[in-house]
Structures are given as structure tokens and as C-alpha cells.
């Protein structure tokens, strides 16, 4: 789905995996990489990267170093590095990140702020389907 030259985190050794049938509620804080295929309600923070699978449902504000989103998120995203949004992603909330890629078909409802080194680009999308593709 994403271009091969994009530097995505290797999740094969993720420290935390939340399976499809599992629900997490509360304040979830971690130091490593996290894979979410189930549901999470509350808040999530990690010093590593997060992979949100297609079937995942997150109702939480998210803070991470990097993130790949293929599922649904209701909450604000604060990503200190690279954010990759896949075609099946649905995001309802504001996004702050350093770098971003958005696939055709992804839905973003909220404000997107990309603070890339010397640049400071800010754009607003409201209730529209993204047509940005790599």
C-alpha cells in the first residue's frame, strides 16, 4: 500500500499487540512499538510507533513517534515523526505530525498540521474524503 522507499517501522518485533477481539479501556502508556487490531477507548502514548490495523477502532487521543493508520480513529493524533494514512483509514480528529503520506480513499475529518523542519504547513479538511495519493 505504501511506497517501498518510505521508512516504516518494522513491527515484527512489536512489544505490545492488542488482538482483534480485545478491548482496552483507560490510559495506555508504553515505551515500544504497538500493534492495535482490537479496540481502544481512552488515551494512548508511546515513545515508539503504532500500527492501527484495518479492523481496529480507537476512541482516544494518540501520541507516538511514528504511526501507520489503516483502521478507524476518533481522537486527536500527535505524531512526532512520520504518519502514514492508508486507504481504509477513517480519522475523526485533528492531526499534528512532522511528515505525512495519505492514500487515496482515506477519510480525514479534522485539522491537519505538518511541521516539517523549516516548513510549517497547515491545512483544514472537514467531512471530506481525501483524494491525496502518493
Amino acid at each position: 500500500m505504501f511506497k517501498k522507499d518510505e521508512k516504516l517501522t518494522d513491527f515484527s518485533e512489536a512489544e505490545t499487540i492488542i488482538g482483534e477481539s480485545v478491548q482496552v479501556k483507560g490510559h495506555f502508556e508504553n515505551n515500544g512499538n504497538v500493534i492495535i487490531n482490537g479496540s481502544l477507548d481512552g488515551e494512548i502514548k508511546t515513545k515508539g510507533a503504532i500500527l492501527v490495523g484495518e479492523k481496529a477502532k480507537i476512541t482516544a487521543n494518540v501520541e507516538a513517534e511514528e504511526m501507520i493508520v489503516r483502521g478507524s480513529i476518533q481522537g486527536n493524533l500527535k505524531i512526532f515523526g512520520y504518519l502514514a494514512i492508508g486507504e481504509s483509514a477513517k480519522i475523526f480528529g485533528d492531526i499534528e505530525c512532522l511528515q505525512i503520506s495519505i492514500e487515496k480513499g482515506a477519510e480525514i475529518n479534522g485539522q491537519v498540521s505538518i511541521n516539517n523542519k523549516n516548513k510549517n504547513i497547515s491545512s483544514t479538511k472537514n467531512n471530506e474524503e481525501s483524494n491525496v495519493s502518493e
Binding site: E13, E15, T16, I17, I18, G19, E20, S21, V22, Q23, V24, K25, G26, H27, F28, E29, G38, G42
Partner: protein, 239 residues
């Protein structure tokens, strides 16, 4: 002196015991044999042996045997090395230590490679390898900050040492002060989360420690501050 603690369950395996004793003699690893079926108070017995200069405690039997032994040793201040000779079924702890047969166990005892393993605790009981409960009706709270529940029925494990067949072995380290929650609700549906303390509540099911001892819930599981020097297989490293 080596102190061999023979579990009652080993009575059924006389041939294996005889061969093991021959192997131990050949390796010059003789010692005192204590038959646990004749022991009324294991703590008093072990304390006496420790005071008499026991060099190694060898648990001969299965998971239940070693679990009973470590629950006594955890409350004794001396750090006597512990070894295992697995006899019969329910010996996953020996496998986790890199000991796969009674013959292996004799050579491993002889080579005496020691790893200090932190014991896990479920309420006031110690365990070495894992605790288990069915997830139906279970409510799990991690680090007092979030709650885990599951939609499908399956099994919940709390791992201190990685079992032989666990695919994510590298995540389970008995020296990192973390207990690892592993939930399996289907072939490809797995959850792995670690935490410093995990509370579990289940009105119907008890939690099973080291596949041997039952403990009622609510249970708080954490890594204790007690460690035991275990004699382990040459290829078994805990990092």
C-alpha cells in the same frame, strides 16, 4: 552437599529413577535423598539442610514439586542454587530452563551454569513460569491504569518465563521486572501486553499457577523482589 527432593509422583517411574541415579553416580553427583512423601514440614526440612551446608537443592519430579520448593526457598534468606530433574508429565518449567529429559538434567547439574531468575507472585504465592485462567468472565486491570476485556472465549496467560512453544519468546524476560499478559482467542488472534502489576477478577474460575497450584481471584500478579539461582541448560540465556 547435593540435596535431592524426590516427589511422590516419581514412584511410578522406578526405571527412570534408577537410570538417573546411575548417571548421577557416574558423574560423581551423589547426595542426600529426601522423599517428600515422608516430609511433614518442607520449610523445616529445607532450613535444616541449608544450615547443614546444602550446596544445591535438586527438585526431582514435576512443576508442582519445584513450585512447592521455591515457595519455601523464597522465604529463606540463603540463596542456594536450585536444579531440576524432570520425571513424568507436567514439566514445562524444566523445559523453560533448557532441561528436556532426566539425562539432560544430570549433565546440566554437572556443568552448573547458573541464571538468577526473579520469581513472579500471585497474591502471596510465588510462581516461576506462568499463571493461567480462562478469559470468560475475567476482568483484567494493568498497572491500575487500563482495563482489558475480550469478546471471544479463550485463554489468558501471565508469563514470567517464556514457554518453549511461545512465538514471541524475545519479549518475555524474567529479569525485566515485567509480567507479560498473553491472551489467545483464536489461531491468529493474539494479544501481548506487559505491565508491572496485573489484577485479575473472575467469580467463576480460579487462576492456576505453574500448571499446579490454584489461587482464588481477585489476584494481583507482579514480579517479586525474590530471585532464585537456577542451574539451567547451556543454551538457555535470560536477557
Amino acid at each position: 552437599m547435593n540435596i535431592f527432593l524426590y516427589d511422590e509422583s516419581t514412584d511410578k517411574y522406578k526405571k527412570k529413577i534408577k537410570k538417573t541415579e546411575e548417571e548421577l553416580n557416574r558423574l560423581n553427583l551423589q547426595g542426600k535423598i529426601i522423599y517428600l512423601k515422608n516430609v511433614k514440614n518442607l520449610k523445616e526440612t529445607l532450613l535444616e539442610e541449608v544450615n547443614n551446608g546444602a550446596k544445591t537443592i535438586i527438585s526431582v519430579g514435576n512443576n508442582l514439586t519445584i513450585n512447592n520448593v521455591i515457595n519455601v526457598l523464597a522465604n529463606i534468606s540463603e540463596n542456594i542454587p536450585v536444579s531440576l530433574i524432570p520425571i513424568g508429565p507436567n514439566n514445562s518449567i524444566a523445559e523453560s530452563m533448557g532441561i528436556f529429559s532426566e539425562k539432560d538434567a544430570c549433565f546440566i547439574l554437572s556443568s552448573r551454569r547458573i541464571e538468577n531468575i526473579m520469581l513472579a507472585k500471585a497474591n502471596n504465592k510465588f510462581f516461576i513460569e506462568n499463571a493461567f485462567i480462562k478469559n470468560e468472565g475475567s476482568r483484567i486491570y494493568i498497572n491500575n491504569s487500563f482495563k482489558i476485556s475480550t469478546e471471544k472465549n479463550g485463554n489468558v496467560f501471565f508469563l514470567n518465563i517464556s514457554p518453549k512453544k511461545y512465538l514471541r519468546k524475545e519479549l518475555v524476560n524474567p529479569k525485566d521486572n515485567l509480567i507479560n499478559l498473553y491472551i489467545k482467542t483464536g489461531l491468529k488472534n493474539e494479544t501481548h501486553i506487559s505491565g508491572e502489576n496485573i489484577e485479575i477478577k473472575n467469580e467463576k474460575e480460579d487462576i492456576l499457577l505453574d500448571n499446579s497450584i490454584k489461587e482464588k481471584t481477585p489476584t494481583i500478579i507482579s514480579i517479586s523482589n525474590k530471585s532464585i539461582p537456577f542451574i539451567v541448560g547451556k543454551e538457555r540465556f535470560f536477557e
